[in-house]
């Protein structure tokens, strides 16, 4: 196997035994990017600064960074025209940790504009394509991160997940993606979408890499006031090939109409395998989860409309002054800048959130949304009294064709129907590969866990992975 194809842990073994140097590994991946990225288009740009290979560090692993994680001296734009030219003056908390561990940043990868999307198509740079079928989307919003990992254009990647933005693209691209517990990983330096839902996490080639990355990025950060000061375990200790006696909850609401039959079959087969390996399967009910998407599109857009108010042409990014005075010079500048700077989906979500928060509608929409959020969280708390994990598909379908859902925002939103509840409840959730469709597209399954119990997710995922070979398959590019 070539260096670029390796997992991080396999590459570490090779580096330790001096069969290759970190620089050779980095250059091998750069070569791969040059060869296949013209087709995949995962990268927005390569890093301007070469990593420092002079120091001996623990994890000198090539890594790709989503375009919403502030990385010093790199242009970070959230794939939006409004931030073009913004070179971050500082490193996000996770980037500091990655660099301190030796991480070698390859470049900045594509995403939906401000993470508003499930297909990577709303990026101002254009689409990224699914390495398994270049006519299809990689999922989103961390589509560039997922496609880069699947295409071996990086060893691993960082993404962010507000309603499924790590897990759904991981599922569409046949890799592993984890959204950690809210507060487990610092959001300092993550350009905010919906602050009560956003969480940064790993996209990797297997479960062991996911645990390794969690060791690097987890932990308290006083610069994020929602960061939780809980001890961080060694996540690799959770990689135990044993699920005997563990209870897996299967929500009956998850297996209803609208679920693609091939996805259903793969997830059911995975369930049967876990049962054979000794897990106890229990049917459970999450009666309020059918309301999750509606709740999310109130809560998330309300928070987004507030967070994105800072993009006004005053301090950074784009500024456009219209030729003619309409209201007054300053107001005209705000409106023209935001109109030229944001794409249609960003405008739609900002307006939806503004509407939900506006006078006369606040109680009916935003407050009600927050109350239903409580009901969804209570459902999950109740099930976790008697279950170790909850299992569902990651997304109701496999990847779809580029352009297929772009004109119908609502059908795009339903792509996140299984992933949204974990964000609303703040609990950790992972997507791992569990099969392929007839058309050769990857299928993913999701495991949700109790708050701060990423270890249980890793243990069940690792056991499944050790007994299957889906994660070893590679796309032909």
């Amino acid at each position: 196997m070539s260096l670029h194809q390796l997992t991080a842990h396999a590459l570490l073994d090779i580096l330790k035994s001096r069969q290759a140097t970190p620089r050779e590994a980095y250059e091998a991946v750069l070569e791969r990017i040059k060869a296949v990225d013209p087709k995949v288009k995962a990268y927005i740009h390569l890093a301007h600064q070469e990593p420092d290979f002079s120091r001996e560090l623990l994890f000198p692993i090539p890594i790709a960074i989503k375009d919403n994680l502030c990385t010093k001296s790199e242009e970070i734009t959230c794939a939006s025209r409004i931030l073009k030219g913004f070179k971050s003056p500082y490193d996000a908390g996770v980037i500091e940790r990655v660099k301190k561990s030796g991480g070698a940043i390859l470049g900045i990868v594509n995403m939906d504009e401000f993470a508003f999307g499930s297909s990577c198509e709303t990026s101002c740079y254009g689409s990224t394509f699914n390495p398994w079928d270049l006519k299809c989307v990689p999922g989103g919003s961390s589509g560039g991160s997922a496609a880069a990992v699947a295409a071996d254009e990086t060893i691993w990647a960082l993404g962010s997940d507000t309603g499924g933005s790590i897990r759904q693209p991981a599922s569409f691209c046949g890799i592993v993606g984890l959204k950690p517990t809210y507060g487990r990983v610092s959001r300092y330096g993550l350009i905010a979408f919906a602050s009560s839902l956003d969480q940064i996490g790993p996209l990797t080639k297997d479960v062991r890499d996911c645990a390794l990355m969690m060791n690097i990025i987890s932990g308290y950060d006083e610069r994020d006031s929602t960061s939780v000061n809980e001890p961080v375990p060694d996540y690799t200790k959770a990689l135990v090939n044993d699920v005997r006696g563990l209870k897996i909850g299967i929500p009956k609401e998850a297996f209803v109409d609208g679920l693609n039959p091939e996805v259903r079959r793969s997830v059911e087969e995975a369930l049967n395998l876990l049962k054979k390996l000794g897990a106890v399967i229990k049917e459970v009910s999450l009666p309020h989860t059918p309301y999750a998407v509606a709740t999310y599109y109130i809560v998330a857009t309300a928070e987004a409309s507030s967070n994105l108010a800072r993009f006004d042409g005053v301090r950074f990014g784009l500024r456009v002054q219209p030729d003619k005075v309409r209201k007054n010079a300053l107001l005209d500048m705000y409106e023209e800048t935001r109109s030229k700077g944001f794409g249609d989906e960003a405008k739609r979500r900002i307006m939806l959130g503004t509407y939900a928060l506006s006078s006369g509608y606040y109680d009916a929409y935003y407050l009600r949304g927050q109350k239903v959020r409580t009901l969804i969280k209570n459902d999950l708390d109740e099930v976790f009294k008697d279950c170790d994990v909850i299992m569902t598909p990651t997304s109701p379908t496999v990847s779809f064709k580029v352009g297929e859902k772009l004109s119908d925002p609502l059908s795009m939103y339903l792509s996140d129907i299984y992933t949204i509840p974990a964000n609303l409840a703040g609990i950790p959730a992972i997507s791992i590969p569990c099969g392929f469709s007839q058309s050769g597209l990857p299928i993913g399954m999701q495991l949700m866990g109790k708050a701060f119990d990423e270890e249980m997710l890793l243990r069940v995922s690792y056991t499944y992975e050790q007994n299957t070979e889906w994660h070893l398959k590679k796309p032909n590019l």
Partner: protein, 95 residues
Amino acid sequence: MSISKDDVKYIAALARIDVPEDKLESFAKSLGGIVQYVEQLQELDVEDVKPTSHAVPVGNVLRPDVIKPSFTNQEALSFAVEAKDGSFKVPLVIE
């Protein structure tokens, strides 16, 4: 409930976005569709339910008020489209 072109104009003004006349219709349609979808939340009885604003409740987080290194004035202004006298410059507001 549907969203009219006038609603879009009103919301856009609140959001400081200028939506051109020929795009009002398509935004009205897509926003209306989403608003109709979220209407399903009205089915639920939430009378005695407390709202959740953060899933993992962390109270007011305090830290000692100590001066630490931060951006210099020059660094903070380095991305300004227009700057003057160590400040961001904006179009004239008051004549």
